[in-house]
Symmetry: C2
Subunit: 377 residues, 2 copies
């Protein structure tokens, strides 16, 4: 028997069997009451998971599509953007701003550092921005930004705050309405426990007012079209019916556990993994690690492809490489979605075995023991 596949990549993540089965049911048409009923149920649960009373738009596309939709519909050509950047995904949002001829000011922190909120306050001081862009949990650098504090500064200005919550929504506390996040973007294949193919964005009243003033050419990503349809539980273009069906099931699972319990579980798995890393003599990457994904520095001389290859070959365990400037320097383990304490203990065990095989010297068993202690708390 081959080993069971265990997916610890920070997206796609494991999809619960119940969700897979739901998506395998026969396809039905989307211009029907049946679809309206499904979408209406989704649209009741999505705001609960995103912790917002604002409308949440669903797009057939990746997280990049949803983030681009957020930006191009709220920032006019030549509009001023303050882009907070500490990783590869934030860099992608800068690319979108630049392609769309925005006037972009980049406030940069190194990979592994959070963007200091006080620097954001300084950058905003006396300036007039249309939007501030930010990755909440920067997946590439396994680092979380202090969204609450940053939002506190942005909400005092006329700028809207557009947040990439792709690996924070459903994983770590995000409270857009309480904190003042105008647009919160996420994707299906992370903590929402679905296959890739759906993107989401919540849109505040402040953001909707911006939308009214912006005239952008793209039709597929036209936010007014999505918002108008959403008000009638409808969609402007053909939706990804099977994924939306799976979404409903996944949202039911999440809301049954309760979003705060999901956050606690994710945090516990992250703490256990970090404790294990330290116990194995490894350094956790990032000065402000995100609970959704843990980055761990390779021991000197380790080769990324060989290490992750052995985990795949010997255990069918899939972890992720570093991205952007971190490629080859770290490996990454996801704690999002359909993953529990036993899964996490398992991945630590496999890590220990492969680390030892490939020449890292440490107190063998210490990682598992440390994780076990944390998980039992």
């Amino acid at each position: 028997m081959p080993n069971r596949m265990r997916l610890f990549t920070p997206g796609p993540t494991s999809v619960p069997e119940d969700v897979l089965i739901e998506m395998a049911r026969p396809v039905f048409h989307h211009r029907t009451q049946a679809y309206k009923d499904l979408f209406s149920a989704v649209n009741k649960l999505l705001p609960e998971v995103l912790q917002t009373k604002n409308p949440v738009v669903t797009i057939a596309g990746s997280g990049t599509a949803a983030y681009e939709c957020a930006m191009i519909n709220t920032i006019p050509q030549g509009g001023k953007v303050l882009a907070l950047s500490n990783g590869k995904f934030a860099e992608r949002w800068v690319t979108i701003a630049q392609r769309n001829k925005c006037d972009v000011t980049i406030l940069k922190a190194e990979y592994g550092n959070a963007v200091p909120p006080e620097q954001v306050a300084e950058a905003l001081n006396g300036k007039s921005y249309d939007a501030v862009t930010l990755c909440h949990s920067e997946t590439s650098a396994c680092t979380v930004n202090d969204l609450e504090k940053i939002a506190g500064h942005v909400r005092k200005t006329d700028a809207i705050l557009i947040v990439d919550g792709i690996t924070s929504v459903g994983a770590i506390p995000v409270k857009p309405d309480a904190w003042g996040v105008d647009i919160l973007v996420t994707g299906s294949q992370k903590a929402l426990m679905l296959p890739p193919g759906l993107g989401f964005l919540s849109v505040s009243e402040k953001a909707r007012k911006k939308v009214e003033t912006v005239n952008q050419p793209n039709l597929y990503l036209s936010l007014p079209h999505y918002l108008k349809s959403l008000a009638a539980n409808d969609v402007p273009w053909t939706p990804a019916v099977t994924l939306v069906r799976g979404l409903h099931k996944a949202l039911e699972i999440i809301t049954q556990e309760g979003i705060e319990n999901v956050w606690k579980r994710t945090s516990k798995l992250a703490r256990a993994t970090r404790a294990a890393a330290v116990a194995m003599g490894l350094k956790v990457f990032s000065n402000n690690p995100a609970d959704s994904v843990t980055g761990i520095n390779y021991p000197a001389g380790f080769d990324d492809k060989t290490f992750r290859g052995a985990l795949r070959k010997d255990f069918n365990i899939h972890i992720a490489a570093g991205q952007g400037s971190m490629e080859g320097k770290i490996f990454r383990i996801s704690h999002m979605g359909y993953v529990d304490a036993i899964d996490t203990l398992g991945v630590i065990s496999a890590l220990e075995i492969v680390l030892r095989q490939q020449g890292h010297t440490f107190n063998f068993g210490a990682g598992v023991a440390a994780a076990h202690q944390e998980l039992a708390k």
Copy 2:
């Protein structure tokens, strides 16, 4: 036992059980050799089904996303477009051209009429267009345009021909390379027998040369990004992994039957349906009916919602309403994808029963008999 659901809408169409099951298998990561192998297999089969040697790009999104990708990456702002229009989808492509500040000349035929190729030749004469846009099979009007002849005129000019093949690819003969179609767009949820969520476009060398000269802002729909990745069997953004997996299975099914046999089957089902309509005393809508979807005029006094509602309630058979200016005037039955002679005979039987119930007088049984005769040929 409830009646088995029978989906005769012109998208989404029925998805084969083998494809549903394939998509229900555990999700895996897309930055892996496993995904490259899958995508490479897909990229061998897709050009066969689209009958082209040109690269075929796969996008996570609807057919609208793929068509917009085709237009915005090949036509510059202010570029001249000749838009051939005889239905709702062609009108959508005009909207995209206008939003993107193209200079659009519309050559219009009424719903139910094909665009006369000689009028296209006249319109092109002495003019210089960047692109000609066309729906091959106009789903809203159940009408097929003479693509071969139109392409013959366009290929003599510098304009590229962008064809909406969303309900023609895999249903009726389309030979882009032989005829001179530069971009052929299609979607997953029609003759490709998949759930909605994927769009496709083939891109000729003539079109790729245009792409090099156009600088458009959108990142998600940036064709250079897709083409560059495709050359390495890779994707620029997270792909819809489960749908791509289903795509591979569906393409296998199609190529095993053989694309020419698929065309023949579809055509036979359409002929049987049209013969049945006439035998039931109804008029087939369109002067040039497409074989992918048949439009049938309602008898005087019939109410669309009541008629289709009874088919759903009594038989769990789902057919489509008219679209655009045909709403309430016709109903539409798909022949695309996972549908065979027995299915088609079944829908005719149900139509007869509901037509009689709701007051249409005709020789009861004549529709089934006529369809049966055609199907047995």
